[in-house]
Amino acid sequence: MGALTRKAAIVGVGESDLGYTPDKTFLQLIAQATNRALDDAGLQKNDIDGLFSAGWLTMESIMIAEYLGIQPTYSDNTLSGGSAFEFHMEHAMAAISAGLCETALICYAETPLSDRKRGMARSFATGAPQEPEEQFEIPYGQWVPIPTYALAAQRHMYQYGTTSTQLAEIAVAARKWASLNPSATMRDPLTIDDVLASPMMSTPLRLRDCCLVSDGGGAVIVTTAERSKNLRKKPVWILGCGESHTHRSISGMPDLTVTPAKLSGERAFRMAGLAPSDIGLLELYDSFTITVLLQLEDLGFCPKGEGGRFVEGQRLAPGGQQPANTSGGGLSYLHTGMFGIFLLIEAARQLRGECGDRQVQPVKTALCNGIGGNLASSGTVILGVD
């Protein structure tokens, strides 16, 4: 077991208004989420001395601190895509353990749905001209993210016989969880046939293999083991963390069927002194159905190549053997661009037993895994309660 296990805990979580928030900027949403997370913890804004955030604007964390009226003495703006907040958890745990900060705020918001409608959409399609992808991929009509994940799905199907029906199982299970979550965007029933009949986006991925586009933000408060014992909610211990990135451009991915979750997962399990069979609940990044399947394999929940068969029979759904993505995930709850913070919020609430109709019983351990970029980065966080 690693020296950092149980040295820090999640003590507060909160989301902003979610879904479609055309009257609010990302800063308003961050403040709202932070306020709710502080209230959840029973802490004050001035208790925060460490700030961890990720966003696409220049010096965004500096901007966020000004807006919130805080002057952190430890600050981390790591931007690894959707996995950023799992990276932040590891960084916050390390900083807190080293005594460099005591109470960390991890926060983020984006408004891509509203931005699209008001003509302010950030384009993924144009990077800086000197970036390798701009020179060697974009001239061929590549764009991020659907075709790049489709390339991985196609390769997995070729190598292991994975089918579109198996991928659809993941989308259907997510929808069943979403139907139990009053905050979810898409709650109507969805069948495998509905997924297979949805419009083709980039072969083999169809519309219902792809996540939603939503506005929203979240905040997570992490503090020392000592301080966590006297707060409003029971501490959700950080048992293990791991992070890795293996490439940036999809043509640079060493093996299209293996994500860096293999590396980040091994590290997190080692730190926690746990194995996949010890994990009660999974919160996996579901930007696409294939993303979930690859993580199940890479994190060791099934052998490489067996992901398709593993998810059959609604194994991930309510009542299934391996409950996963209990909020409804990026596929049916919401997806703001970097979903990783919502994985942590949902896991903390499940571990505290606050999830109502969708509560998994009994659950003592949860694994959150964020994936960012073109299957490029992965952050694993294993959480537990006493």
């Binding site: 399609a125 001239p139 061929y140 075709p147 299209l256």
Partner: protein, 143 residues
């Protein structure tokens, strides 16, 4: 060759100039490390395997196979008229992988593992994009 080519074009700099000049001359140049003998793509001044600066340009055979592909039904900006179009990751005989497009082949006939060879698309007077076609084009359906 069209003067009104509106799609994105590469920004050429010291590290990639030889590659794009090669393409213009209808040669596929890739980098090979003289220290560890490994090829790499995209071209870099330092070998990404052993970090040697002793990297040479070699002329690739231009043959390889499709490692993966996707048919895009939603376009990248300025590719709207091409939908559905394919992008592919081609693994060259030298062992490196590059993104490209498969031409002279219907999207329905694309297969992972298909043997392909380079062809050159002179998209502007300055820029040529290496693309690939099946080595033995699949028999066309008789109409």
């Amino acid at each position: 060759m069209t003067a009104d080519y509106k799609k994105p074009l590469p920004y050429i700099h010291s590290e990639t100039k030889a590659y794009w000049e090669g393409a213009k001359a209808h040669e596929l140049l890739i980098r090979k490390c003289r220290t560890c003998n490994r090829h790499h793509f995209y071209p870099r001044d330092l070998c990404p395997s052993c970090f040697s600066s002793d990297v040479e340009w070699i002329k690739a055979s231009g043959r390889g196979h499709i490692y993966s592909f996707t048919v895009c039904h939603r376009p990248a900006p300025s590719f709207e008229k091409d939908v559905p179009y394919n992008i592919a990751l081609v693994e060259l005989e030298e062992g490196v992988r590059m993104m490209s497009t498969i031409v002279e082949c219907s999207n329905d006939d694309l297969k992972i593992g298909m043997a392909v060879e380079v062809v050159y698309d002179d998209v502007t007077p300055e820029i040529t994009l290496p693309k690939f076609r099946p080595v033995s084009p699949p028999a066309r359906e008789r109409s």
